[in-house]
Amino acid sequence: MSSPQIEIQIIAAVVAVACAIPGVFLVLRKMALISDAISHSILPGIVLGFFITQDLNSPLLIILAALSGVITVVLVERIQKTGLVKEDTAIGLVFPALFSIGVILIAKNANDVHLDVDAVLLGELAFAPFDRLIMSGVDMGPKSLWIMGVILLITITLLLLFFKELKVSTFDIGLSSALGFSPVVLHYGLMTISSITVVGAFEAVGAILVVALMIAPAATAYLLTSELKRMLFLSIFFGIFSAISGYWLAHWLDASIAGSISTMLGFVFLLVYLFAPSKGLISVMYRQKQQRTEVSLLTFLLHLNNHTEEEERHINHLREHINWQKIRANTVVDLALKNNMISVEKELVSLTEKGKNFTETALDYIITNKDEKIEHLKEDFFLFRG
């Protein structure tokens, strides 16, 4: 690996982590689309900042752009508060308007400035190592790494300081307010840091792909954990993993780095969506199948419980009587036998003691819907996991 290659991977990883952290809270607050709005509407801020400073990495440009991000959020909320349109419509109204102001500003001054819409939308990570920070003649490394590094440091510091406050205001806005943790302050804090992150990241990965870096790792982590801290760590991990593997995918395909990183993000999400242990598609389908079998089992046990007559309990009669296909009937009988709930003697099926108890507990649960009674059954049966 050459040193620009290493630098590009480090920048990509730092951008990924800086985006993943606010992304978790945006996803949990159901505000994923706001990141899309911010990433576009910072354009006029960037253009104005660039006119003033002639430097894409100037702090003033970052502040102006972040400001236009926050203005977007304020405008969206204002329009939404009128009650005339819903939030998604408000977002759809605001960001194209701001974005187009940026586009017009660029077009009007295209001859004077070195800034084009393509670069803003898609970014170019491959060029990042060429723009270096030189301090009194010493090469300190790529400028964008410094910018994103500082933004990441601020993000992590704020997260460590205000984790508790962000958690409570995201989960329960009413309690947060009643306890004195102003949801408004926390909301705008999060929006500001998201805007700053987007501004810092847009040069590297572009305004469109920065949305993927914010939302995809959080959405993926959400499928895997039921704890906020773990969700943050997993998001960071998925962000870094996609950044590095995306870089090598681009290397291999000789394609856009940002595009490859996003592809990896999508791929990782797809894998987790399919294979996640409890929320994944395959696991959900398996569970539904199990539940169907268990409902059949319960029906079967109830039938046995209700009938003492021999003819009702004959194994062949059962098949006809409950009117199931042979395979399903066999699965159910096997399942009941395996769990020692029935015994078969001379082709007559009867409930065992365990089977009787189980049937009665299950009945009791279905009638009273009391959860405590079936706690110990939850391990064995999907049916009772709600």
Binding site: L28, K30, G83, L161, F162, F163, K164, E165, K167, V168, T170, F171, D172, I173, G174, L175, S177, A178, L179, G180, F181, Y222, T225, S226, E227, L228, R230, M231, T368, N369, K370, D371, E375, R385, G386
Partner: protein, 245 residues
């Protein structure tokens, strides 16, 4: 009556988009009562609680908790919002939700530690949910979720408890468990204010009641004012409720 005044509301008016939802409310809640707020849908019951707690800004009027504004008395007050007001798919566990109740006394930045954890476990035990402490909250039944919310209020160790429809969507066992805890709180001298829907249970559960329908209709002891006259005034139709004396 020489009881202390726990909550005093003066001339409170709240409006959404210039339409008043609470109009000129005067209300005095004495210390140590278990009070129901009753009224039809849209009467402003939740709004009244939320404006007492500073969650909604009123357009006029004032609220005091033990003679001081709410912002200075936060630590004396615990709040249980409507169960439906939060996202139960949020990645967190029962114990973690209860710990949120300790955040208020911690203030900004400071993290909960061993002491807060211990208090939270005790609160979970009190509501019979200790066995579920590490359960993800979406895996709890409606009644269990409500108990976790109650534990979160208990851990605040407050003097005044506000609860917004704590019996909504819970089974009979949980309802009895909750009301017993509320009665225990009253016995310990706490003041409890509950937005309540089931008129039949008012005389059995509560000793104080406020009738609300945008305006305040009446407030006082259940045995004096919980009658057909006030019910009719509040709900607008002829109400006949068997009141056990």
């Amino acid at each position: 009556m020489n009881q202390k005044i726990a909550i005093q509301v003066d001339d409170l008016t709240v409006a959404y988009n210039y339409k008043p939802v609470l109009w000129d409310i005067d209300l005095i809640v004495p210390e140590g009562v278990l009070m129901a707020i009753v009224g039809p849908n849209g009467a402003g019951k939740s709004t009244l609680i939320k404006s007492i707690l500073g969650i909604i800004d009123p357009i006029a009027g004032s609220v005091t908790i033990y003679d001081k504004p709410y912002a200075k008395q936060r630590k004396l007050v615990a709040y249980v919002p409507q169960k439906g007001s939060v996202d139960w798919d949020f990645p967190t566990t029962a114990i973690d939700v209860v710990m949120m109740g300790t955040y208020g006394s911690l203030g900004w930045i400071k993290r909960p530690g061993a002491k807060e954890k211990k208090a939270s476990l005790e609160a979970l035990e009190k509501v019979g949910m200790l066995a579920f402490k590490n359960r993800q909250i979406s895996q709890l039944s409606g009644g269990q979720q409500q108990r976790v919310f109650l534990a979160r209020a208990l851990v605040q160790n407050a003097s005044i408890y506000f609860m917004d429809e704590p019996f909504q969507g819970v089974d009979a066992t949980t309802e009895i468990a909750i009301i017993n805890i509320l009665k225990e709180l009253r016995k310990a001298g706490k003041t409890v204010v509950v937005v309540h829907h089931d008129l039949q249970t008012v005389p059995e559960y509560f000793d104080w009641v406020t009738f609300l329908n945008v305006k305040k209709i009446a407030t006082g002891p259940v045995k004096d004012i919980f009658n057909d006259d006030n019910l009719t005034k509040t709900y607008g139709i002829n109400y006949k409720v068997a009141v056990s004396k």
